[in-house]
């Protein structure tokens, strides 16, 4: 298990859980980041928001907020 901000560019995986403040949970859920959904990290550079593709949407999420999102990385690619 990893946090979303630790996933390297180009890797993909599945969201396990979303923690953090309630309003963050609501906002991030509404854009499609929910447990069970598949994602791939498109860009993950220090000091920049994490760019991920999820539910056919390209999404930028604040780095520190990404630490609230637990994920499972698919190893074989």
């Amino acid at each position: 298990m990893k946090k979303l901000n630790e996933v390297k560019s180009g890797k993909s995986g599945t969201i396990l859980s979303v923690d953090g403040r309630v309003d963050f949970q609501r906002r991030i859920t509404a854009v499609g980041v929910t447990p069970g959904s598949r994602f791939s990290v498109v860009r993950n550079e220090a000091k920049y928001p994490v760019l991920l593709k999820i539910r056919s949407t390209l999404l930028a999420v604040d780095r520190s907020d990404c630490a609230e999102i637990a994920v499972e990385v698919t190893e074989n690619d």
């Binding site: 309630v22 949970q25 959904s37």
Partner: protein, 679 residues
């Protein structure tokens, strides 16, 4: 028989609601390719087959949760029973995400239709949507749609003629089944405690989901409906749920996924790739991204000045008309004082406002273009870190960028921010950004006095701006940005679109006209006051009230390094930054003040002569003091009125303005006294 019916447009940000609204009603609401442009609901009417319809364009929200003002506006409107029909727009090219709004709507008993908008984009990526199947599983009419194409509107109008609208209630059964299996006993308990038929338009499953999401508005509503005791028992059950929002979201998306796998197929075997496009790879890259953005912005600002030129020219020749007109008026026997009021005061105000509006047009057009194609969201991404240092996030970059062209347009650019606090903070910090006209004046004065060293002055101004920005963030940041306003960036980077030139031009013109209407009153009042102060029957300034006031205050203004003339110029710059040049030209030449406020743009107050009269009258430290006072002064009155309009807070706008004024004069004093040591 005629009937009136009210239609509400509901959908996630960037799903095309305003495009649809504009096409229906012929209005010009802001449209652009990045999320969150509409912040207030707008209402318009249209006619079709003798019937009149009222439509409401709602702010785009990702869900019906009560997270932000926009979401509360939206939800109250939908539930208030005002709308007879809700049109839910979903972006067909990103169905999986955009249907979330539909799911959050399920359980609200208001007639609805689903418009699958941007069908053109979806089809070009190879998506095939089985509309009848969707209709069947939702229980409401579904319309494939392209809001940008009139061809599709016939089917929509036909739909409005149908008589069975009352039955178009979105089927929420399969979603409640999902909740039931996800939450089990808790779900059953809560539902047994709630009134059997739900509350108002809300079904119990909807209320349950909102309670699980810790939605305060829903809690309050439930408490009033069931009484305190029963609510306490509901609350006890709900508290057993951890991360409720994430669980209910999960149910909603599960439902969407099932539905999509049944009704949507993709002929394009590759499907959508997770790779970035070629341009995006550069646009969001760590090194190149910022440089690319800076280059494009710079180019954009240059182009916007070109677009502003025709109107600017018009504004600059208007004052020329004042001479012949005033001669004619005098000839037919009008009182000279009245002629002067009309030609020097009111006419000047008019031409002045026209010129300033040209900047509004140029910058909204160019930045509107960057927005429409979808590049603005990329700029926000690369500058997120910079904005975070000010307590804001990437989306706040917009007002700052636009302000380099025009602070008025910058204030409007803050609309994409989520909360009042963020908007207020971003706008008040963006006031320090020098607009196009500020550079004009600073450039002239600095080069007259400092020659090649002007570059150093400009560098100093920039450096002090950064400090100023930090001070503003410190003083007002805490006030405006409460803990809940300090949210991190969550932003969709929309796919690139083609620009639609026609609507771009129309909407930039619309913004310009509304800025003009707002400003003309204020500018006229201020100029008439100035006219009264500077009026003399012989046109010789030294007989005027202004001159007398000037000589009285000079001993005080000199503490700050400002001669009375530069002090008046500094005051005038609050009206409009270019105004300062006109005043300088006028007061140092001892001719009529107001007339020259307008005349300066006639390329006229030719810089050489201003330069000469200036360098004869001011010392270097005095010039430096003026540059600082002028540069850091609040932006023009029009920016102020735009800010008050955007933030609905005259009080805070005035306080921020007061802060800018005071800081500018203090900085002038510092610059003057340091200058005195150097020169």
């Amino acid at each position: 028989m005629t009937e009136t019916m009210t239609i509400a447009l509901l959908g996630q940000p960037n799903s095309g609601k305003s495009t649809f609204y504009n096409a229906l009603t012929g209005s010009h609401q802001h449209v652009g390719n990045w999320p969150g442009k509409t912040v207030e609901k707008n209402t318009g009417i249209f006619k079709c087959k003798d019937n009149t319809y009222t439509v409401t364009d709602l702010p785009g929200t990702y869900s019906l949760a009560a997270n932000s003002e926009e979401e509360i506006v939206t939800r109250e409107y939908i539930a208030g029973g005002e709308a007879d029909l809700v049109c839910i727009l979903a972006d067909a090219s990103q169905l999986e995400r955009s249907l979330f709004m539909l799911e959050d709507f399920a359980g609200i008993r208001v007639p609805a239709v689903l418009l699958l908008n941007m069908l053109d984009v979806a089809e070009s990526s190879g998506k095939i949507i089985d509309v009848p199947a969707i209709e069947k599983s939702l229980g409401i009419p579904v319309l494939p749609f392209v809001a940008a194409d009139k061809k599709y509107y016939g089917a929509f109008y036909k739909l409005l003629e149908r008589r069975d609208m009352k039955n178009w209630i979105l089927d929420s059964n399969s979603l409640s089944e999902m909740y039931k299996s996800e939450f089990g006993e808790i779900y059953d308990n809560v539902l047994n405690t709630l009134p059997r038929d739900g509350i108002a338009v809300y079904e119990n499953s909807w209320i349950f989901a909102k309670l699980a999401e810790n939605d305060m508005a829903a809690e309050a509503m439930t408490e009033t409906a069931v009484g305190r005791e029963r609510f306490a028992s509901i609350k006890k059950d709900i508290e057993k749920i951890n991360n409720g929002a994430s669980h209910t979201g999960n149910c909603k998306f599960k439902w969407i996924d099932e539905f999509i796998s049944d009704c949507v197929s993709n002929v394009n075997s590759k499907g959508s790739t997770d790779e970035l496009g070629k341009f995006d790879r550069l646009a969001v890259s760590k090194r190149g991204g910022k440089w690319l953005a800076a280059g494009i912005i710079l180019l954009g600002l240059m182009v916007s000045m070109v677009f502003a030129a025709p109107l600017m020219y018009l504004g600059s020749i208007l004052p020329l008309l004042a001479d012949p007109v005033s001669k004619w008026l005098l000839d037919i026997g009008t009182a000279p004082m009245l002629v002067s009021l009309l030609c020097d005061g009111i006419w000047t105000a008019f031409s002045f406002t026209v010129m300033m509006c040209s900047f509004v047009f140029g910058t909204t057009f160019v930045f509107g273009f960057l927005e429409e194609i979808g590049y603005m969201a990329r700029i926000s991404y690369v500058f997120d870190g910079t904005m975070r240092r000010l307590g804001l996030h990437g989306k706040a970059v917009m007002p700052f960028l636009v302000s380099f062209g025009c602070n008025i347009a910058g204030a409007t650019g803050a609309r994409v921010l989520d909360t009042w606090g963020q908007r207020m903070a971003a706008i008040s910090m963006s006031w320090v950004v020098p607009c196009g006209s500020t550079w004009g004046v600073v450039g002239l004065v600095a080069s007259v006095f400092f020659g090649p060293w002007a570059a150093v002055v400009v560098f100093l101004l920039f450096a002090v701006s950064v400090l100023h920005l930090q001070l503003t963030a410190k003083i007002f940041g805490k006030r405006f940005l409460s803990e809940s306003d300090r949210t991190g960036l969550i932003m969709e980077l929309p796919p690139y679109h083609k620009a639609r030139w026609g609507s771009l031009i129309v909407s930039s013109l619309g913004k310009m006209v509304s800025a003009f209407k707002r400003a003309i009153h204020i500018v006229t009042i201020v100029l008439v006051i100035m006219w009264v102060l500077s009026y003399t029957s012989d046109g010789n300034l030294s007989g005027s009230i202004l001159y007398r006031i000037g000589s009285v205050i000079e001993p005080v203004t000199m503490w700050f390094g400002l001669r009375w003339q530069t002090f008046i110029a500094w005051l005038a710059s609050m009206m409009g930054k270019e105004g300062a040049l006109g005043i300088i030209a006028a007061v140092f030449n001892d001719s009529n003040v107001l007339h020259s406020v307008a005349m300066q743009k006639v390329v006229t107050v030719d810089s050489v002569s201003i330069g000469e009269s200036l360098s004869a009258a001011l010392t270097k430290p005095e010039a430096l003091a003026f540059i600082f006072a002028f540069y850091f002064n609040m932006p023009c009155l029009m920016t102020m009125s735009a800010t008050a309009h955007e933030t609905h807070s005259l009080k805070w706008t005035l306080l921020v303005a007061g802060y800018y004024i005071i800081v500018s004069i203090i900085l002038a004093a510092v610059a003057y006294h340091i200058g005195c040591l150097i020169f």
